[in-house]
Structure formats: structure tokens, C-alpha cells
């Protein structure tokens, strides 16, 4: 796949890097380069303009509340419009945890304040208050006939509108809101999920799906070749075992 390049915009890498988001970037790089696809990543911080169409994939990770507020402001003021345009032109987006919440219509904080979101996904998130249970733990979802495994840690409950599909169904864990069994959201080429941090390395099928989706905007029939995923598959299987065992005990 000579001459191909995966061009990634990493939104707010300094502010939104909570727990292992770097693993997702490393994974995109590793799995691209293993196929001879060159990998380019550009970090965009507060105030930096976003030229969405110049990228194949836009990635945004998680943050703590204080950082998330700064990001939410910048997102709405500076980046939401080009992001929306890019999404309509099929640019791929992967939004994780806090970044996922910000893709929705709004986020209502524990104190009841409503922070506007980027309105890329038809959904909203509500934090039911400081006393409410935080959704923390290993999680497994059913996705595309297989499983995706990871860790979730969020106070907010996300509710999907009619305009989006869930990414998957919860097998073990909480997911979007702990009620309707949905996890994450998909709309056009946008993928949002609460499975935070190093989501991609031990979910190689999802990682390749994201890369393929991102590259197919410019290279229609592209198919990624197989690579050696023995360690990836073993890590995936072990994490699924761990998550389902825990949820049965609980």
C-alpha cells in the first residue's frame, strides 16, 4: 500500500489525555505502518483552527472535568463548525470518553449547568449529581458480530437520539446510561464510545475498521491486509474473561 498515508488530527492532546489515550494513537500508527501506510498526526490545541477535510481521521480523547470545560468552550467556538462540515463529507471521527460526550448536543453537569456540545452526534449527556453512582469498571460490548473490550469510568449518562445508532450492545458493564444496554454511538463515519484510554490496541478488528473507514473516503475499495495479531487476540480474550467473570460476581 505504497504512497498511502493516514492523516490524523488529534484534538487537544495535552488537555485530553486521561489514562492511556496515547495507546490509541500508537495503535493507529502501528497498524498503518505495518501495512506500509505512512502515518501523520497533528495535535490541535485550544485556539488552533481545524481544517477537517485535510485529515482522514479526527481523534479526541478523555479529560477531567476542569479540562473538559475549557475544551467544550473551544470546541463550540473554534472547531464545531469545521468538524460538522468534515463529518458531512465523510471524514472519520473517533471520540472517546469525555471527547465522546462533547460530540453530543449538550452535557448537563452534576450542578445542573448545561454545556453546549459540538452537535456532531444526536445525543445528550446528563450527570445525575455528585451522589450518583459513577460507572467504573471493565466493559465488554457486542459489536459487528464480535466483541470490543475496555474500561469505562464516567459519571454522565448518555442518551441517544433517533439520528444515531449505538456502537454496540453491553455484554458486561454499564455503557451509555446503565439502562438501555446501548454503548457508544455511530453516525456516518463518526464513532463515539465510553471505552476509554487504550481502546484500540487490544481491539484490533475495531482499530482496522476505523482505519479502513478513514482511508476509504479517498481510496474507495481499500482493504487492509492481515497482520500478526497473536498478542492482540490473546490480550482481547483475557480482558473479556476478566470482565465477564467480574460482572457475574458482582
Amino acid at each position: 500500500m505504497k504512497g498511502l498515508a493516514l492523516r490524523v488530527a488529534h484534538l487537544y492532546p495535552k488537555l485530553m489525555n486521561i489514562y492511556g489515550d496515547r495507546g490509541n494513537i500508537l495503535c493507529l500508527q502501528h497498524r498503518s505502518e505495518a501495512r506500509g501506510i505512512s502515518f501523520e498526526v497533528e495535535g490541535l490545541e485550544l485556539g488552533d483552527p481545524l481544517k477537517a477535510k485535510e485529515y482522514d481521521l479526527i481523534f479526541v480523547g478523555g479529560a477531567q472535568d476542569r479540562e473538559q470545560r475549557l475544551v467544550a468552550e473551544d470546541l463550540v467556538k473554534v472547531k464545531a463548525k469545521p468538524l460538522g462540515d468534515g463529518v458531512r463529507r465523510n471524514v472519520a471521527v473517533l471520540a472517546v470518553c469525555g471527547g465522546y460526550q462533547l460530540m453530543g448536543r449538550f452535557y448537563r453537569t452534576a450542578e445542573g449547568e448545561e454545556l453546549p456540545g459540538a452537535c456532531v452526534l444526536d445525543m445528550h449527556t446528563v450527570h445525575p449529581g455528585a451522589e450518583a453512582q459513577r460507572f467504573i469498571g471493565n466493559i465488554v460490548i457486542e459489536w459487528n458480530g464480535t466483541t470490543v473490550v475496555g474500561f469505562e469510568n464516567h459519571g454522565g449518562r448518555t442518551f441517544l437520539g433517533d439520528g444515531v445508532q449505538p456502537l454496540g450492545r453491553v455484554v458486561a458493564g454499564f455503557g451509555n446510561n446503565g439502562e438501555d444496554g446501548s454503548e457508544g454511538a455511530v453516525y456516518r463515519n463518526v464513532f463515539g464510545t465510553y471505552l476509554h484510554g487504550a481502546l484500540l490496541p487490544k481491539n484490533p478488528k475495531l482499530a482496522d475498521h476505523v482505519i479502513e473507514t478513514a482511508l476509504r473516503r479517498r481510496h474507495k475499495d481499500l482493504r487492509l491486509s492481515e497482520i500478526d495479531d497473536a498478542v492482540e487476540d490473546a490480550a482481547h480474550a483475557a480482558a473479556v474473561r476478566q470482565a465477564t467473570r467480574r460482572s457475574i460476581i458482582r
Binding site: Y19, R22, I136, A234, A239
Partner: protein, 454 residues
């Protein structure tokens, strides 16, 4: 009074039983039992300590700092009462006090007893209220096990409230190189003593290696300044003016309010220089005197599982606890600096004490060890997560994938076999894995179980 006596007796009986049956060393359970009977047992017993108490808290370094301070206190002729490493919640402190008291619930007043308690970040307010400390030493505040504590901001807010509520007689000892620790000075009611690394020091006078030093000032610790409002790190009251890394330790020159202290520390890494600074500053706040500080630091040996050397089957084994990215990066730098043929065994568990979320390993620079390993074994409940992280870092044993063996005893045997006789095996465990690994090694090395080691 009767309640206290009953509480202490029940606690001591519990300790005896759990030691007899080796139920985890009785480090916390006796405290829990005593607290059930007398909820005020910590207040009652700590009030009898003739020299009062000092509290040490922070994300990294509290165990080593407490250990160093204990050594200094002993050199000053005091008899410390201290909780065991890792038992740093209320029950662990209650257990230490129960252990120090007689069966009648009295702590002998003839002895000069000083409480030295390492305290979990989130537990600080409870302990501070119960023991009425003479000084509180803060090490640093890193992102650590967020699934337990929520957010760094939350811990900072808890600390601010705790410091504001301290009695005016209590000294607050702060690491000025950590902005969120330094900020506590504003809310302190009483005396504030700050410590830090000195900017103007001629760092390495022998080899002059600048890079090594910028590398060892770790995480967000250093000489900070806000470009927006001009908020700047002030000059510390206590500082380390010279730091020289040596093969098995480091040489430090500390500037204290009363004068200089030169010490040879048997601990490597700049993070241990910070621990020495914290301990010396705490000792200084308690007026333990420079001679005791110097002798105490010189006499220090590596602490419980933090940096512990053992000998098993003709190989040296060095255990280096992995807690969080900042701490583990320091460990990896130390290993990388020691040569290019390291034998390594990494144990990753995901119990509450380890942090249930293992995503943090992706924030660790395992790439530091690329090309520097001879054999690599990974183990623990999350062995495969670690194997995958190491695959990404390009680390493998002799060109092959890391040796994956989730069962700890098997893994440890394999790793020892892979290590040349006379060589050193670096064992990097998370907390619960460390307890397991150390127990195995101690058995094989013919040493006591961990609660018997001092």
C-alpha cells in the same frame, strides 16, 4: 477508658491470631477490630504519644519518606510508632497504635514516642483530625488510580480543606516543586516549611551530564512558572544543592535552616532525593537536629518492596514497585541507565490496590528499554495487556515475544532461569503482585515473611 482497654485488647488478640495463622500479617485487621469497639481509639492512643505525631501524604514517595523519617527519629533517640507500608488508611494507623500500647491500653510514658504515619491522600482529613499532628509532610500529587479517587482536583480540594483545618501549632511541609502542593501554603494557618531541588546547583560535578538531570526531575515536578499570571515557584526553605548519582545510591547535599547536611543515600534516582528532602524537612520541622538527619539518611536501606535487593538461587533480584506512570518511568530510567542486557519480570494486576484500570501502562515510556533487555517475562492477572504494551515498545526477550506466564510463581521461576548466574533480575510488580512476589522470593531466599521484615 474501659472501652479503650477493651478495644486495644481485642486488637492485640486479633493481631496475635492473624500472625499465628499467617493471615496477611495482621497489618490492618487489628486496627479495624479496635475501631469497632472504640471509634476514638486513634485519638485516645495518639494523645499518649509523648513526642506527638507527624503525617506523611502524597501520591508517590510516602512509604520511603516515612521510612527515612523513622530512621532519623531513631537516631534522635526517639521510639517511632509507625503504620506498615500500604496500610495507610485509618485502620492501619489504629493497628500501629494498638501494637504500641500495652494490654491495658496505655502507651508507656517513659519512652519518647513519636507517631510517624503515612496516610492515603483521601484519608488525610480523617487522620489529621484524629491524631492532632505536629507536622504534615506533603510529597506530590500525581494522577493515580483515578477509579478510586475521582480526580486530581478533588484530592487537591480535600487537602486544602484539611490544611486549613489544622491547628496553628502544626507545621505544614510542602514540596515547592509541585505546583498543587505549593499552593497549600496559602491556606496554612501555622508554620510552613518548603523544600525543593535547587535551580542554581551545579548538578553533576563529576560527569556533568545535564540530560540525566532533566530526565530525573520527573513528571510535573520542577521549576514551574505560569506565563499568564506570573505565578512562580518560590525559593524553598530546604533544598538539595547537589545530587550525584552513583551505582548503588546517590550523594546529596541538603541545605537546611540550620546548615548543611551531606548524606550518602543507599537509594537511586532523583525521586529518592525528593524523598530524602521530604524526610529531612519533616525532621527539621520537628527539630530533630542535623546530626540525626545525617545519620538517619546514611543508615537508610531500601524500603519495603520499593527498591529492595534480594538474593535467590545465585541471582540478585531487585524489586521495584510500579504504582503509576510517573513512578514507573523513573524505575525504567534507572534500569536503562544500568546497561543494555537487563533481565526483566513485569507483574500487572488489577485489584483495587493496583488500580482496576490498566490503561495507565500506555502512558509509561517502556520505549526507554528498547534494545536494553536480554530476557523479559510478563505475569499477573493482566499479563497479556502488559505483553501487548511491550510489543508496541519493541521490547522482547532475545528477539522473541515476551515470555507470558500469568501464574506468578511459574513466571518468577522462568525469569530467574533466564537470568545468568551472578546477574540481576529486575522485578517490576504492581502493589498486590509485589506482596505475592516478595512472599515467594522471601521463601526461596530463606527470609521472613513481609510483616516480619523491618
Amino acid at each position: 477508658m474501659i472501652q479503650r482497654t477493651a478495644a486495644v485488647a481485642a486488637g492485640k488478640a486479633t493481631a496475635a491470631v492473624s500472625r499465628r495463622f499467617r493471615l496477611g500479617g495482621g497489618t490492618a485487621l487489628p486496627g479495624l477490630v479496635a475501631q469497632r469497639i472504640d471509634p476514638d481509639v486513634i485519638r485516645d492512643l495518639s494523645g499518649q504519644l509523648s513526642e506527638g505525631s507527624v503525617i506523611i501524604t502524597g501520591t508517590n514517595g510516602k512509604t520511603t519518606t516515612a521510612r527515612l523519617l523513622r530512621g532519623i527519629a531513631k537516631e534522635a533517640g526517639l521510639k517511632p510508632v509507625a503504620n506498615r507500608a500500604g496500610s495507610n488508611m485509618m485502620r492501619g494507623i489504629a493497628a500501629a497504635l494498638v501494637d504500641a500500647a500495652g494490654w491495658s491500653g496505655e502507651i508507656a510514658s517513659a519512652e519518647r514516642r513519636l507517631g510517624i504515619f503515612e496516610v492515603d491522600e483521601a484519608t488525610l482529613p480523617l487522620v489529621a483530625e484524629a491524631v492532632y499532628p505536629r507536622a504534615v509532610v506533603f510529597t506530590n500529587l500525581f494522577r493515580d488510580q483515578l477509579d478510586r479517587y475521582g480526580e486530581v482536583e478533588t484530592v487537591a480540594a480535600v487537602w486544602r480543606a484539611a490544611v486549613a483545618g489544622l491547628p496553628a501549632e502544626a507545621a505544614v511541609v510542602l514540596n515547592i516543586d509541585d505546583p498543587s502542593v505549593a499552593a497549600l501554603a496559602v491556606v496554612a494557618q501555622g508554620r510552613v516549611l518548603t523544600y525543593g531541588m535547587n535551580a542554581d546547583a551545579r548538578w553533576c560535578t563529576v560527569c556533568g551530564n545535564e540530560l540525566e538531570y532533566s530526565a530525573v526531575m520527573y513528571g510535573h515536578l520542577g521549576h514551574w512558572r505560569c506565563t499568564k499570571c506570573g505565578n512562580t515557584r518560590p525559593e524553598p526553605d530546604v533544598f538539595c544543592g547537589e545530587f550525584q548519582a552513583e551505582a548503588n545510591g546517590s550523594r546529596l547535599t541538603l541545605k537546611l535552616p540550620g546548615g548543611l547536611v551531606e548524606a550518602n543515600l543507599a537509594l537511586t534516582g532523583l525521586y529518592n532525593a525528593y524523598n530524602a528532602l521530604a524526610a529531612a524537612s519533616g525532621a527539621s520541622a520537628l527539630d530533630l537536629g542535623r546530626p540525626a538527619i545525617q545519620r538517619g539518611l546514611n543508615a537508610a536501606t531500601a524500603g519495603f518492596g520499593r527498591q529492595e535487593r534480594m538474593h535467590v538461587g545465585g541471582r540478585g533480584v531487585q524489586i521495584m514497585l510500579a504504582k503509576n506512570p510517573a513512578g514507573l518511568n523513573q524505575v525504567l530510567r534507572t534500569i536503562a541507565a544500568n546497561g543494555s542486557n537487563a533481565d526483566l519480570a513485569v507483574f500487572l494486576n488489577d485489584s483495587i490496590a493496583d488500580g482496576r484500570d490498566v490503561s495507565w501502562i500506555w502512558d509509561v515510556d517502556f520505549e526507554l528499554l528498547e534494545g536494553k533487555t536480554r530476557s523479559v517475562t510478563v505475569s499477573g492477572v493482566r499479563a497479556w495487556d502488559m505483553a501487548l504494551r511491550l510489543k508496541y515498545a519493541g521490547i522482547d526477550g532475545q528477539g522473541a515475544s515476551p515470555n507470558v506466564e500469568p501464574e506468578p510463581a511459574q513466571a518468577l521461576k522462568r525469569a530467574l532461569n533466564a537470568t545468568l548466574e551472578g546477574g540481576t533480575l529486575y522485578v517490576i510488580p504492581t502493589y498486590t503482585a509485589m506482596l505475592e512476589v516478595r512472599d515467594l522470593l522471601a521463601r526461596w531466599a530463606g527470609r521472613g515473611a513481609f510483616w516480619e521484615a523491618e
